[in-house]
């Protein structure tokens, strides 16, 4: 986890730098929010991608998922704090601290309550007609969301805390059936409705017909990847050289958090709508292109040959990216010691 936390923090640092440059040239209104969006990773999307490619149980897969966990949790917590208050008054800061104290307390309490007897009780109640554990889980969710609302935090942080409390109680126990039921409710209704309505509100023609918007789209797409390229060097000792660029590409794969944070940013007036649009468009590209490119690069490293016109095209693009990446790293590793010597 040490590697992952440091790599994510390094990516966040580079993201702040990247957003500051865009802010300096007048492209951004709120650089901190953009800096938080860029180092996000779609953990939930990477899981099936790694599973399908047979990388889930490998060393490479473990590092990808570790980095993805940091990329999902870190930005969400920071974004909730940034969006919650402007922190002009001391009491607002105190309320934020109170919420985090309650959240950590609830998670620790759940950890203490976790037992085989409780898991058995929950599993037994799951077969009742009233499905009481689902009702209790929804009550925990509503309670923490209400508390977050009362204390001026973003509701999503309350929902995330509720998820962690319930996972702490039931994960890897007989009561895991509760988690599966809740996932059914989320994946079966709430999650698709959220993404479809986000698509309804998405102004794709506006994004593709304005040169300024296209420039932002390209910039953000490059930003998602660039901030990951340097931090993955931390994995040089534990992963082969060929896996570093694929790791950067996979950890740049993001979408759900980008949609959620940009939605919140526009709603609170902290993000320009054209930036929100361009970020979502760039995130769609990361999901559609980056994982495929990553696996083509890994296959190339292992000496496998691609089949089909599309695979060959991606293979050529990957070759080009690989050469540019090597040049870039050569440049960075040469320049940093020079700067230090001065």
């Amino acid at each position: 986890m040490g590697h992952n936390a440091i790599a994510w923090l390094a990516a966040f640092g580079l993201s702040v730098l990247f957003a500051s440059v865009l802010y300096a040239i007048g492209l951004l209104h709120a650089p901190l929010l953009i800096a938080l969006v860029l180092p996000t990773t779609a953990f939930g999307m990477l899981l099936p991608i790694l599973h399908e490619s047979g990388n889930l149980g490998t060393n490479f897969g473990r590092y990808v998922l570790g980095l993805a966990v940091a990329g999902e949790l870190g930005p969400l917590v920071l974004a909730a704090i940034v969006l919650a208050h402007q922190h002009h008054h001391l009491h607002e800061t105190i309320l934020t601290v109170v919420f985090f104290a309650v959240a950590i307390g609830a998670i620790l309490a759940a950890q203490r309550m976790r037992s085989r007897a409780l898991a058995g009780l929950i599993a037994g109640w799951m077969h009742d007609r009233s499905i009481l554990p689902v009702r209790i889980a929804l009550l925990i969710l509503l309670g923490l969301v209400s508390l977050a609302n009362e204390l001026g935090m973003e509701l999503v942080l309350g929902a995330y805390t509720a998820g962690m409390v319930i996972a702490m109680l039931v994960r890897d126990t007989r009561a895991e059936i509760l988690q599966n039921r809740l996932m059914s409710i989320g994946s079966g209704f709430f999650i698709p409705v959220f993404f479809i309505t986000s698509g309804v509100e998405f102004d794709l023609p506006g994004l593709l017909t304005s040169p300024g918007s296209i420039a932002r789209l390209i910039l953000f797409c490059a930003g998602f990847l660039l901030i990951r390229i340097v931090p993955v060097r931390l994995y040089k000792g534990v992963l082969p050289e060929n896996d570093l660029l694929p790791l950067a590409l996979l950890s740049s794969t993001t979408l759900p958090l980008v949609v959620a944070v940009t939605y919140l940013g526009v709603r609170t007036g902290d993000m320009l709508p054209e930036n929100a649009h361009a970020l979502v468009g760039a995130a769609v590209i990361t999901v559609a292109v980056f994982p495929a490119l990553a696996f083509v690069l890994r296959a190339k490293g292992e000496g496998a040959q691609p089949e089909g016109a599309v695979a060959i095209a991606i293979h050529r693009a990957a070759n080009l990216a690989s050469v540019q990446f090597s040049r870039f790293l050569g440049f960075v590793t040469q320049k940093i010691p020079e700067q230090r010597d001065r």
Binding site: F195, I196, T197, V200, E201, F202, D203, L255, V280, V287
Partner: protein, 61 residues
């Protein structure tokens, strides 16, 4: 179109998106990307089937 109809159309898309990912042409596409694209398709910028959103919502544009 009222909100119930809008929700019904969204429900249809929610059913069709994962079904489409089972077709060879969309096999490589993630369901979430397809949901966003189909949402765009039924929205005001596309076919205009869903135009009425909740009063609190605000377009990303």
């Amino acid at each position: 179109m009222n909100e119930i109809h809008a929700l019904f159309v969204i429900g249809i898309v929610a059913v069709f998106a994962p079904l489409l990912t089972r077709l060879p042409a969309f096999a490589r596409m993630r369901a979430v990307v397809l949901e966003l694209l189909l949402g765009f398709l039924i929205g005001p910028s596309g076919l205009g089937w869903v135009t009425m959103l909740s009063p609190g919502s605000r377009p990303l544009a």
